[in-house]
């Protein structure tokens, strides 16, 4: 854990956000990341979340957060409205992940995406040896109850980004909450954070 008390993937995202940036956090939950960014980096923080209770909590923290559905409502935001559009641990729950990624780099000059790596060795072991859908620290909910409908591996994500013509500006890999190198990340990292930019 970082000193901020943020979830490790959120801390990794926060590290990628420059001071004073205009930030939209899509699927912002109760606003923990946005509040952290506002308080430590002076960002202009906005959020979107599907849950009324989460939005109420985030607004009660003094954040500007709108209740809405990332699959449907991102189209309402004008292009280049933000320096960074963040999608943390949410991509895998989207109906149309490719479209959401496109929206991310339309609304923001950069997109930041974190997601659980379905290529992690624990996932592979669960399927290979156990023959069961994995339940792991980064995928803690059983298959029939999870909101995750579009899980992917780190290599899958890289391939999709390339297909969409998105440039990867940086990538951070986490294993049990600690940063690790890019080598064998698709096997050894349980979470990944990518900073994307529109293709050139």
């Amino acid at each position: 854990m970082s000193g901020s008390g943020l979830r490790p993937d959120l801390a990794a995202i926060a590290a990628a956000v420059p001071n004073g940036a205009r930030v939209l956090d899509i699927g912002c939950g109760d606003g923990a990341l946005l509040a952290h960014l506002r308080d430590t980096k002076g960002v202009d923080a906005r959020g979107l979340d599907v849950s009324a209770a989460n939005v109420a909590s985030a607004v009660a923290r003094g954040l500007s957060v709108v209740q809405g559905d990332a699959d449907a409502d991102l189209a309402d935001y004008p292009a280049d409205a933000f320096d960074m559009a963040i999608l943390s641990d949410t991509l895998q729950a989207m109906q149309r992940p490719a479209r959401v990624l496109g929206e991310l780099v339309r609304i923001g000059r950069r997109g930041v995406v974190s997601f659980p790596n379905f290529g992690h060795w624990r996932v592979r072991r669960a399927l290979l040896l156990g023959g069961r859908m994995p339940v792991t620290p980064s995928l803690p909910v059983s298959w029939h109850e999870t909101a995750n409908i579009h899980l992917c591996t780190i290599d899958d994500f890289r391939a999709l980004a390339a297909d969409l013509g998105l440039g990867v500006e940086s990538a951070t890999f986490l294993s049990d909450g600690a940063r690790r190198g890019a080598a064998l990340a698709n096997l050894l990292a349980d979470q990944a954070v990518f900073v994307l930019a529109r293709g050139r």
């Binding site: 202009d44 906005r46 009324a52 209770a53 939005v55 109420a56 909590s57 985030a58 607004v59 009660a60 923290r61 003094g62 954040l63 500007s64 957060v65 709108v66 209740q67 809405g68 309402d76 935001y77 004008p78 409205a81």
Partner: protein
């Protein structure tokens, strides 16, 4: 106590105030009023820097008695759940202003006021007014009170429309806007229900083209108007839960046209009690102002452009069962405010109570409003 300093006894501040402002007061219609009377209340004290003023705007049939007992009905203020000690809008921290709207009948100039030019009641000679006119009357009151910039303007329903219009009409004077169960314009259905109410009043022979005596009002017509409107403030789910098909004080059907069903009895009571405290001509004028409301109209239908000059923060709240100003209306506002680059928060809260939910106990609404106001303080 009589020797206490005059500042704290400034006659401009306190409960049940009246002020008469010299005109001319220009209206959207092009007409003007020679004089503008305003009935209002204030709660709490204006901070030395003037930064803690909150204007609360009332709905169609509301008034300035937001957090004090009503002089005619004796009932508690209409928004004591949101306004009062320990509430999100708190006289301990805020200087709170609530005024009767232009066109109203609780002390602010309206059709039941005396026209200084003739010495008679305006009645239907009162000019047709708009939400913008109401907002400008509030701005004139703030000038009188010495309030420059509002920390926030807060309202539900028609009060929310005033709050939104404040950000459009006086962008430099409002830092935060809270609009609850409201919309950027009146829909065809909204206008249709209002027309039913107006026709009920005008069809009452007692209405006499508006020139009824104060002690002989078109009460039957106004009661029907209220009954029709009241249905739009509730939800089918709420009505079913509250009344179902239950009968009123009887074991079986009476084969009559008495108020046999509880819901009939309830509506008749709502209609009748409303006539004790509201003026029929005011009802005509205020519903007209609502029907005319369309923030985008002056901007070729582009709602976002209406907010282009605003630097305010916005918080919008809707309720799941509100079909008068449904969530789709709030979302339209959210889209426009996002497009205008405004800081906007929006939350759709679960409630079975229809439009009236904003006046009822709603802890989540209070949490949102409290957090939003504290962040902007």
């Amino acid at each position: 106590m009589a020797s206490v300093a005059t500042a704290s006894l400034d006659q401009r501040f306190g409960l049940d105030r009246r002020v008469s402002l010299a005109g001319p007061f220009a209206l959207a219609s092009g007409q003007s009023l020679a004089r503008l009377d305003i009935g209002y209340e204030t709660y709490g004290s204006l901070a030395p820097d003037g930064g803690n003023a909150i204007l609360v705007c009332h709905a169609l049939t509301g008034d300035q008695y937001v957090a004090s007992d009503h002089p005619l009905t004796g009932k508690p203020g209409w928004w004591t759940r949101l306004v009062g000690p320990g509430r999100p809008i708190d006289p301990e921290r805020h200087f709170i202003i609530c005024s009767n709207v232009l066109g109203g009948c609780m002390g602010t100039t309206g059709p039941s006021s005396i026209d200084p030019a003739t010495g008679d009641r305006y009645a239907m000679r009162f000019p047709v007014i708009t939400i913008r006119d109401m907002v400008n009357a509030q701005a004139a009151l703030l000038d009188h009170l010495g309030v420059g910039v509002l920390q926030a303007v807060v309202g539900g329903s028609m009060g929310g429309m005033q709050a939104l219009d404040w950000a459009v009409a006086h962008p430099a004077r409002v830092r935060s806007v809270v609009g609850i169960a409201t919309a950027a314009r009146h829909s065809a259905q909204n206008i249709a229900f209002h027309e039913v109410g107006r026709q009920a009043i005008m069809a009452d022979p007692m209405w006499r083209a508006g020139d009824y005596a104060p002690d002989a009002p078109p009460a039957a017509g106004l009661a029907v108007a209220r009954m029709a409107a009241h249905i739009t403030y509730l939800s089918e789910e709420g009505l079913t839960a509250k009344f179902g098909r239950r009968l009123q004080d009887r074991a079986g059907l009476g084969f009559s046209f008495d108020a046999e069903f509880q819901v009939e009895s309830y509506l008749r009571h709502q209609g009748l009690s409303f006539t004790q405290r509201f003026d029929a001509n005011s009802y005509l004028y205020i519903t007209r102002a609502l029907d005319y409301f369309d923030l985008a109209a002056a901007h070729d239908g582009q709602l976002a452009r209406a907010f282009a000059g605003s630097r305010a923060r916005f918080a919008l709240v809707s309720f799941t069962s509100d079909w008068l100003y449904p969530t789709s209306q709030a979302r339209r506002l959210v889209r426009a405010l996002n497009a205008a680059g405004a800081a906007v928060s929006f939350c759709e809260l679960e409630s079975p109570f229809g439009h009236d939910a904003f006046l009822l106990e709603a802890p989540e609404m209070n949490r949102v409003v409290d957090g939003f106001l504290r962040a902007g303080a």
